[in-house]
Symmetry: D2
Subunit: 382 residues, 4 copies
């Protein structure tokens, strides 16, 4: 029922999407593609064409469940297809670069789930490919940029509502590794995961610094810690080779200091990304566990306003439900897909781009380097 006459920029047929990967992130991205036009009807129509995974039976079952027309096991073949317009990379991080580079080379528009890649070098290659002449749209999936409350926070900072920001406090705490009997996984090995909580949760937090302040971190001091050095594997204890907690102080070009604490052993914290911004004239606080709320203090006085970010004029909210009908975590992916499709449709830039992913990776690498040097300040290269 797509209407080809809907707009000059709308292609004659729906944009066909392929998602590579079908576990947690594949489920979240599938949900976004399935729902995006119901809430953002102005974006081009999409065809949920093919879901790709290594296990044939598993990916077939998932494709059926999530609403994909086809399932496939060879991502290279899928990328080579002429009838695929968009490649959405939801593999583990160490495969991001290879898949995304191939997709860009094949002329596809590319969306990559965060982190962009596990190393600065890979990120640099990806930025080069994404900015080459004729490349498709290339976007990075830091979905929390589409949390309405955080988007509102950025607007308020930009408008000067809290004056000049001096200090930021960021923490991202989870507890799925608090129990030292939690088993070994690929996420706890350096060769597959790069780092531990630093890359996984720290990347979100660092991207928020860049997003909210509109400037990048130029130097860092940091410290890592592995509280549980061994975990049960299938044939006995195995060594954990990544961090399960990290602390850092980040500094931007303009002199803002951002403190950062991330942990996977913070018992009782399930998915708690907390952001606080302290400016000369006000402050802002956010907690992902109360995703629909933002606390804003502007001007003087003893009080901070708790904004229920569900009003039609709040970012992204016009697309959803009446005021007071709260959104959940997954809605951020749907809004992200809408922004991506709009950019594809119009041939316009989209944020966060791969350069944003490189900027984050440089900060994470600098935190690791600082830790290795006993906590000395390290420049990020941003």
């Amino acid at each position: 029922m797509t209407d080809p006459s809907a707009g000059a920029g709308t292609p004659a047929r729906p944009l066909a999407v392929a998602v590579i990967g079908y576990s947690f992130m594949g489920k979240a991205h599938s949900n976004a593609w399935r729902n995006v036009r119901a809430f953002y009807p102005e974006v081009p129509a999409v065809q949920m064409q093919v879901l790709v995974g290594r296990d044939g039976a598993g990916v077939r079952e998932a494709a059926d469940r999530y609403g994909w027309a086809e399932a496939a096991t060879d991502w290279r073949q899928v990328i080579a297809r002429d009838d695929v317009d968009i490649v959405d990379v939801c593999t583990p991080g160490h495969l991001h670069a290879e898949v995304a580079l191939a997709a860009l080379a094949a002329g596809k528009h590319v969306l990559v789930e965060k982190p962009l890649a596990n190393s600065v070098a890979e990120c640099e290659d990806l930025v080069a490919a994404a900015t080459a002449p004729g490349a498709g749209r290339a976007m990075l999936g830091f979905n929390y940029r589409r949390v309405p409350a955080l988007a509102l926070a950025r607007d308020l900072v930009r408008e000067g509502r809290i004056g000049q920001v001096r200090a930021v406090r960021l923490s991202y705490l989870q507890d799925w590794l608090a129990d030292d009997r939690a088993p070994m996984t690929w996420r706890l090995r350096k060769e597959t995961a790069g780092t531990g909580v630093l890359g996984d949760l720290g990347s979100h937090a660092v991207d928020q610094v860049h997003y909210l302040l509109g400037e990048t971190v130029t130097s860092v001091r940091g410290e890592l810690r592995t509280f549980v050095p061994q975990r049960p594997g299938p044939s006995g204890p195995e060594e954990v080779t990544v961090d399960d907690a990290a602390w850092a102080t980040l500094q931007t070009a303009s002199g803002v200091v951002a403190s950062l604490e991330v942990s996977r052993v913070a018992t009782g914290r399930k998915n708690s990304l907390q952001v606080e911004l302290y400016g000369t004239d006000g402050s802002i606080r956010f907690d992902l566990e109360r995703l629909n709320e933002l606390r804003v203090l502007s001007g003087t006085g003893g009080g901070a306003e708790t904004v229920l970010v569900t009003e039609p004029d709040h970012p992204y909210l016009a697309a959803w439900w009446p005021a007071g009908h709260v959104l959940g975590w997954d809605h951020t992916f749907t809004s992200q897909a809408a922004d991506f499709l709009r950019a594809v449709d119009r041939g316009e830039p989209v944020q966060p781009d791969f350069a944003a992913g490189l900027a984050v990776q440089r900060v994470l690498a600098a935190v690791e380097a600082s830790h290795a040097r006993g906590g000395a300040r390290v420049d990020t290269g941003n």
Copy 2:
């Protein structure tokens, strides 16, 4: 890609759904049908067949947007179709009875958005039809029964975690009519809406009393108020003939007292359904504006536990995301659709059924009657 061999109870073709009505509730229900199998793969496959509305152009645009195969304007024709299995009634309340009775007569499974109907008599007719031999599954859409925190609350009450409940406090406050310049609508006329906030929000609250306690309200005392008696219409001021606030004390057979306050003029409250249960051994509190949280006090002591209701073993949560990834308002409709489909598949009863809607309507009618009699206690007939 539906797999007909998935289960003995699964029909050979997907269950075809028709939704009647395409505004706010039509959007919410469409979202549920579109997503239900992605999260609840064990339910039968559904085909989003036809969306029905009075305005041809409007319903076509909505059908395209929400993912329906067809649009239609005549609900009677749609109900008559052999290839429609499920009729989902999202019209204004005064049409519920007519549409749902026709659908049941045609042998369809029926889901009706709350309230069941605007009068006790209509509700009685609907119950009769739904319980006639050979009738399809008939479910009423009190979606808040699928808020995980409220489902958890019910489980805790059942398990005796707060002892014997003595008192309940319920309020459901909104503010979309706080401004006396808000215009006249069909919702503010007695002939189309039946009552005002009492039926609209009070019905949810009363259903929660029945749901959480597992028993019905047998007598009430109540009071209604219209704070803004005139509203601007297209050709001048018009009289508001329904309440915009109501208060009541409800009593159950076992002697529990539930206080109720509902309002559409509670400035600053967007969609605030608050529930408090006080038992001999503990208490429970809930606020819809913090949909993922439940406060539970069990046993003695000075503290109440704030449960982030996102754990895999919490009601409905296993279908969704990892712990700490919060849900929104619309997810309740998807879970509701899953429960309905499962009942259809298995030929089993489903809650809330039409009798639950009748029980609520009797309470609302008794509140009106009490108001008319100066606040005297009125039996509900439940």
Copy 3:
């Protein structure tokens, strides 16, 4: 070390105070007299002269502990003393009238702990005595009028910050009787206590309606309940003859509706007085368990400001500590004593006066009458 030259209105010797009663309220009032000039140095100096109680040993021990110069057992003798200027009545409620009338007759300034008395008739006598020519200052101890956050709320209402108030929601919930094994006390017998939770906690709540709105309740509808009809006494079960929960809707002359719920069996609520005011342009919320906070929504928008009421320009705060250093429950009594002393010093009126107590008592009596008449609306006579 009193300095008699401190002000023209300051008496040549400190004002000598007698407190009648030395249990819970006697302790709280003693604390106020002991501390008032440390925080409010502009008020006249006070001499903590004599603490009065029936048990000689007990009152002597308390007098020593709380800093009184003397202890006594006969309140009539104390009232007759020329060297006593102020009589502060902290006895159980059924003795308030007798003591206060005697003190006024003896020319004393009188402070009476709430409620003013247990009956409307006694309250009327007290008002007559307090307004007779030549009577001393007569104040009623509704101490919550001196909670800074509630005083701020009243200022905001007066200034029109939330527009015209339409509805108020009040609840005052405790749980010290939730356990049905809690023993019988004089508070649970009609002859000594008058009513149960209605008079004890409801009086505070009704006074807040009067205080915050600046007008009185003119009619009510109400309902009482005794959830636990028997309690253990020293020689077996005894009958509880007062309510342990009550509900009412109160209406003021201007048409504001205030809902009220009070309970002593609200498990998990320790001392939770909650106040919500909904106006045409904003709203205000307060919870005594977070005594230093006020939530204010003014104007449109999705957010309510949580004000930490500790700024120097907030009511009463200049007397206390720097911003952010929170106050507790007992500070309200000290501020109350200061307001009383200032009125004594200047010969000026003070609020709440006995008429305020009578107005509250009329409302409580009307709630009882309404209950007796099956919930019919009853005029208060205010």
Copy 4:
């Protein structure tokens, strides 16, 4: 009215107290001495003998106001008096050592407001004096150890309720210097204040680490920042020579990591000391702006209990009011005075002693040293 027969350990006359200093802390300590026996009748009686300050008129006015028998301007003379038993040092920090050493030398019991002194060397001298044979009781005024919720937290940690603590998060944020027009004071000069917010607020935070964990910090990494390097003085801008924000990671002997952030420029934070403890089996959170609450997660599950710390069996609460009647900031000083007097009475040790102050000062000095060395880890010597 002191009763000399109250106990064998009770002296024949009240203990006479002298407070040195009469500004903010002098007011808070006066309040404690004035009230201590009203709430803790078991401690020895005290006589509020003399308040000492440099400005004769000022100290006389304050002495009258706060209830002291005498005022004086020469602290040496006061310390030399035989009729003074207790010397309570509330001067600015750089005078603590001189006064306290003199008082100990004169055989007095000594209470010193935090911080113990501005340098490690001074602290060492004080510890030596306090532990010399025959010295009086010597206590340091970290009053937050007497916040009931924090005392409860320590008990829970000790009892193993959250397992083995891995990580602590501490922040203490204020905003009284957020405005860069706030004037220069002695607190912003290195020669009088030692450090800025690090010593002022950081000392409280570090003491809480020691208190809550029962072990000391052995190494640190830290960073300081002066966001506003100049402030208006009486004759033009002056240089700020201390920090107005600081960040550190502290490590204990057993390997716990505590992150610390303190600031005087955190707009909107008035007096926000936040403490979080993450253990292997649970976690605890506290915020001084909600002084009567503690959030406790013990065992598994998705929820944390918010304890209203006002029950009779909570630390210190039996002395105060019934459950639910919240305490304020100043009550901590009264409880501190009670603990001190009890130790004096019994000749027993009291915590925190001067060694606790030295331990904190070593940590602060190490943070400064780390900052000077570019963030390198520095041992504290504890």
